[in-house]
Symmetry: C2
Subunit: 320 residues, 2 copies
């Protein structure tokens, strides 16, 4: 038996929903995972979440769960807990908090997935810090901004969209419709786009070959595999991507004076392929003399894919 | 006689130091102004500030002054009140707070000039708001960020450098040494650079002619005069500059979810020449559907050149 309160943390992504019973120290006592239904409308999703909560509470460790926290991709109104808009899901204006509180009889808090992941890193990660940002570099670029120990959300929870800071108005189009967002040049989607272009120009190169062997189109993962195997074209794509990320990091450091910058999300599995050029550009574009304005370390996040559900659980424990 | 407490507000710029006795409602009871000495080292500057404080206190209205607030261009450590670094002045590591408290026997607070100007606008401007930014577009681009009613400075006062957010890594060099800062493309310095280039390409155009008539090199003011007189080349430079400013505004709106964006500084005197393209680009690059994430209004600031000293006085009244 462990002491302390427990909450259920749920992390709603574009392809899967992860759930866990989380303790105050971040310990995961039980967990489960479901695929996000193809028809990810509000009714279907609410039913799925209710079933996951019931299953987790049915677990012996779940008896004393006191609250539910939800982290979700998309624009989440805070503290109302309504998901206004999610580029990769069909729900819209989904009152997650209200519906889940009615269905489960527990207090519910709902926040953006980047925010809850940032909370997990700030409170329990290897570099606990009250002035930091977590950038999650996956399909998109998410962010959790922690200022003076608190998640920064904007007055209605619509802020912290660092991935949609413009880094080059003449850059490629982003999933959001704008041109030159950080997400458009420094995400898994950007890596896929660059990899496809590289394969087109060199159909016998390693990127194209790996994709052909797998029997499908080039994805960012083929680029990562090729770069890890020493392919120079793939490595150069990571240099480009990491440099864009580093320039974005320098910009937010000018604005926020962060003490630590953490990189999470799927692409951080590429390790130094991503981090080295990002650090270099963050130094190159750093504002001010480093002895006056220190350059914060750029480090991999502690909680890979678990950050969302753990952070959602922590948020529920802190806010209820 | 008016009621309430009063403070002295001092605004240290690259070319002048402005001082005033400021009431809680922002009323200026007395004011004076000195040129910044060419040898703007810490000793000379401290003496100048002490003399200005004595003169202001000597005024009949200055009898009940309870504190001193200083706003200064440069990197100001908060709450220590030490100016670490100022690109346009010779002082460095200047302990303004300590020296001025000793010299004047009053509590002193020292902050970045953009921050105190932002405070004046947030508390007393025409669009008082707790979630806003003031961008001062002058020689450089300064900023005062107000989050939940409080100035955001970063953990040691080194943040809020929105002017050094990168907007194009291949852009022109900034006074800070980096390439493509917002300040490098959306400031008076940028306008001067663009104006000189235009005059070089068209020596008989209005910009070159106005400068020649004034007997000197082209400055941003000649561009402004030409644009106001209807010169299409000068107007197109404002379109470029305003567009860059608007893209920067869209980026910080994605990050902060501001409710109001105010534009101050010398260039706002150009009015719609600057504001119209800025608003257009801020809309074009706005993140998310406007019905979900509203587009904040971009408005001229209330307190032109007085924002610094009034805000410095207000800050002293709030913090002491």
């Amino acid at each position: 038996m462990t002491n302390g309160r427990r909450a259920i943390g749920l992390d709603i992504g574009g392809t899967k929903v992860a759930g866990a019973i989380v303790g105050e120290d971040g310990t995961v006592h039980a967990e489960l995972r479901r695929n996000t239904p193809d028809t990810s409308d509000a009714d279907t999703m609410t039913t799925l979440l209710r079933e996951m909560v019931e299953e987790l509470r049915g677990d012996a460790e779940g008896a004393d769960v006191s609250a539910i926290g939800v982290g979700a991709a998309g624009t989440v109104e805070w503290p109302v807990g309504r998901i206004r808009w999610a580029p990769n899901n069909n729900y819209e204006n989904w009152d997650v908090r209200g519906l889940l509180e009615s269905a489960c009889g527990l207090p519910v808090v709902v926040d953006n997935d980047g925010n809850v992941a940032g909370l997990a890193e700030a409170r329990l990660g290897g570099t606990r810090n009250d002035h930091m940002v977590l950038l999650t570099v996956g399909t998109g670029v998410g962010a959790g901004i922690v200022l003076d120990g608190k998640i920064y959300r904007g007055p209605h929870g619509l802020g912290a969209e660092v991935g949609h800071m413009n880094v080059n108005p003449d850059g490629p189009q982003c999933g959001c419709g704008n041109y030159g967002c950080l997400e458009a040049v420094a995400s898994g989607t950007a890596l896929t786009r660059m990899g496809r272009s590289a394969a087109l120009h060199d159909p016998r190169g390693m990127i194209a070959t790996l994709a052909a062997e797998a029997g499908g189109e080039v994805t960012g993962q083929h680029v990562t595999m090729a770069a890890m195997a020493g392919d120079s074209t793939a490595a150069s794509l990571f240099q480009r991507l990491g440099r864009s990320l580093g320039i974005g990091i320098a910009s937010i450091n000018a604005i926020f004076e962060f003490e630590v910058v953490l990189i999470g999300g799927g692409l951080v599995d590429a390790g130094e392929l991503l981090l080295e050029p990002a650090r270099r550009a963050a130094r190159e574009f750093h504002y001010g003399p480093p002895e006056v304005r220190p350059i914060p370390p750029v480090l991999p996040a502690t909680y890979k894919g678990d950050a969302g559900k753990i952070g959602a659980g922590l948020l529920a424990l802190e806010e209820t």
